[in-house]
């Protein structure tokens, strides 16, 4: 406030809300500086952090307004990636902001920006735990696991929590996250017991993502409100219980797990028995292999009537996996979209079975609602053709079939052409396709470059 204040600045200061009818020339009046703080907060919400801070330079009136911002988001959009000493700069900045900040902070996000955690982060979490935080994202680029301080577990209002490269240990007094609806853990170190305690004490949890978590060997999910689950990583064993709201599940098993012996109960039956309300199911990598180890039943005892979308990684040379796929088809009468990704798992004991594609093994499979079938990653195997033929016969209302060759398909052009020609000869159940004289035209293209063969209704 040093120096002479221009006259109209003083006038602007004198002008308070509710007194706009003054006789001064409207265009000269600074109205933005007198906006109520609620409105300013709302405007800040839609501006990048960097620009929010820049408002401090407008005038003395604006110098500290930005500290009322409810959302503090530090990501790549707000800094330049080339800054080498950015960790130190960011830390000192966040320290300063939190020291001065007034009012609640609803969102705090440092996403993939900090190289690694420091003791500063402990302090931030302590402050945030007293600010009614709702949304927290704290992910680091590298470095050792950051041991989460106990203050994290006292975030009573937290609804969304995303953490990476952190080490979990819950304090004895941990009372749960009573508002938590979404939990996203990536490369965190967490024990079975801690994980279970968090899940059990977060009764509103709807979305759960676990990616490459270390230490979590027995994945046990008991979450009555859970709707969406994405898992990628390893486990020894898996257990679902009270998951009646679960509608979308993706499980990607990176290495073949042991699993326990279940006696006469097949793994398919055992692991999927609680997932009866599913609409969308995706199994990646070794999970189908895991489920198809041992006994593979024809059909599961429960029916997945809501299941519309099924996506599977199948090793085409493993008969058990194909039988497991058949089992899922039989148990899901209302499937509409199937995507099979041919994926040669590492050479394991392959169980080739005679007569796999005979009427007896494929009997009672009625994919009467399936409109779309996609088969990707084909390399030109006989088995892949078997699958194509099978789907064409069994799907009366099929509208589209897509077959995509693997990028590194070993077969040369002439072999591939032969393979495709074979495919074109198959009989089709869908009335929309049959009766067409020139079958080749049904496959909209089989150009070599794209290696995608489409069969359209």
């Amino acid at each position: 406030m040093k120096g002479a204040c221009p006259v109209d600045k003083l006038l602007a200061k004198a002008l308070v809300i509710g007194n706009f009818e003054g006789k001064m020339n409207e265009m000269e009046v600074d109205k933005i500086s007198n906006l109520p703080v609620d409105i300013v907060r709302r405007i800040f919400k839609y501006l990048p952090m960097r620009e929010v801070v820049q408002t401090s330079l407008l005038s003395t009136n604006w110098r500290y307004k930005w500290l009322a911002a409810e959302e503090l988001i530090f990501d790549r959009r707000c800094f330049r990636s080339s800054q080498r000493d950015s960790d130190v700069k960011l830390a000192s900045f966040v320290n300063q902001v939190l020291l001065l900040h007034e009012g609640p902070i609803s969102k705090f996000k440092i996403d993939n920006y900090l190289e690694k955690a420091s003791s500063d982060v402990d302090r931030w979490l302590l402050v945030l735990s007293r600010k009614q935080l709702i949304h927290l994202v704290l992910t680091f680029r590298s470095g050792d696991y950051y041991k989460l301080p106990s203050s994290l577990f006292s975030l009573k209002h937290i609804k969304y929590l995303k953490l990476s490269l952190c080490l979990f240990s819950t304090p004895l007094s941990f009372g749960g996250f009573s508002c938590l609806t979404a939990l996203d853990l990536q490369q965190v170190h967490i024990t079975n017991e801690t994980f279970q305690s968090i899940i059990c004490k977060s009764p509103l949890l709807q979305r759960l993502q676990l990616i490459s978590c270390y230490g979590l060997r027995h994945l046990s999910v008991t979450a009555p409100k859970l709707e969406w689950l994405f898992f990628h990583g390893d486990f020894d064993d898996l257990h679902f219980d009270v998951v009646s709201h679960l509608v979308e599940v993706t499980i990607s098993l990176c290495n073949l797990a042991d699993g326990g012996a279940r006696g006469a109960v097949s793994r398919l039956e055992w692991y999927l028995r609680h997932l009866t309300n599913l609409k969308k199911l995706v199994f990646y990598n070794y999970f189908l292999k895991f489920l198809s180890t041992g006994i593979v039943p024809d059909k599961l005892s429960v029916s997945y009537c809501n299941l519309k979308y099924l996506r599977l990684h199948v090793n085409m040379e493993d008969s058990n996996q194909i039988l497991a796929a058949f089992c899922l088809f039989r148990s899901s009468p209302n499937l509409e979209h199937i995507r099979i990704e041919a994926k040669p798992n590492k050479p394991l004991l392959l169980l080739d079975r005679e007569g796999l594609w005979d009427a007896s093994s494929t009997s009672n499979i009625g994919l009467t609602h399936v409109k779309v079938v996609e088969i990707t990653g084909c390399v030109g195997l006989e088995r892949e053709l078997d699958f194509v033929r099978f789907f064409l016969i069994i799907t009366p209302v099929l509208e589209r079939m897509t077959i995509e060759m693997h990028k590194k398909a070993a077969t040369n052009d002439s072999e591939q052409l032969k393979w495709v020609k074979n495919m074109l000869r198959f009989r089709r159940a869908s009335s929309r396709a049959e009766g067409n004289d020139s079958r080749a035209t049904d496959w909209s293209s089989y150009s070599r470059s794209g290696c995608i063969y489409n069969f359209v209704k």
């Binding site: 120096g3 409105i39 620009e51 401090s56």
Partner: protein, 177 residues
Amino acid sequence: MSESTEKKMVRLRSSDGEVFEVEESVAKVAKTLQDMLEEDCADAVIPITCVRAPILTKVIDYCKDQVMISSSSSTTNNPNERTEQERKAWGQKFMEGVDSSTLCELLVASNFLNIEGLLNLGVDKMVSMIQGKYPQEIRDMFNVVNDFTPEEEEEIRNQNAWAFERDPYYKKRSSSK
């Protein structure tokens, strides 16, 4: 307006003394007025002390439109029903030509009268006006007077240096201006 079913009218007085007569349903779009009306102060003229007549006119235009949409949306095959896209286009058109001074008053009015939809339109407009602008550009737009001494300005820049560092995007944008 004077149809068989007599519509209840409400009178509003702007800060500069102009009285507006509107249907009750239009007034009730504003949550603040709805609460007042439900507590029954029907005959009186409701003073809107912080909103001038030209602004109140604009606010009433907005409320009338909301009533038109909602009253017709109950009937099937409604020609006035808007898709998300149409609504966005309508909002943009409604705020078109609103200058910075009017915008501030509209924000204050919609905040006071508690009209969430109009407040959102105003905030969107404000964000689109100031996003990516240098402090001096914002000052010019809204008649904010820079009352910092050069020393103070330097001090603020140094405190949060990262936020004021030039980045290529800003340079490009300002040179194209």
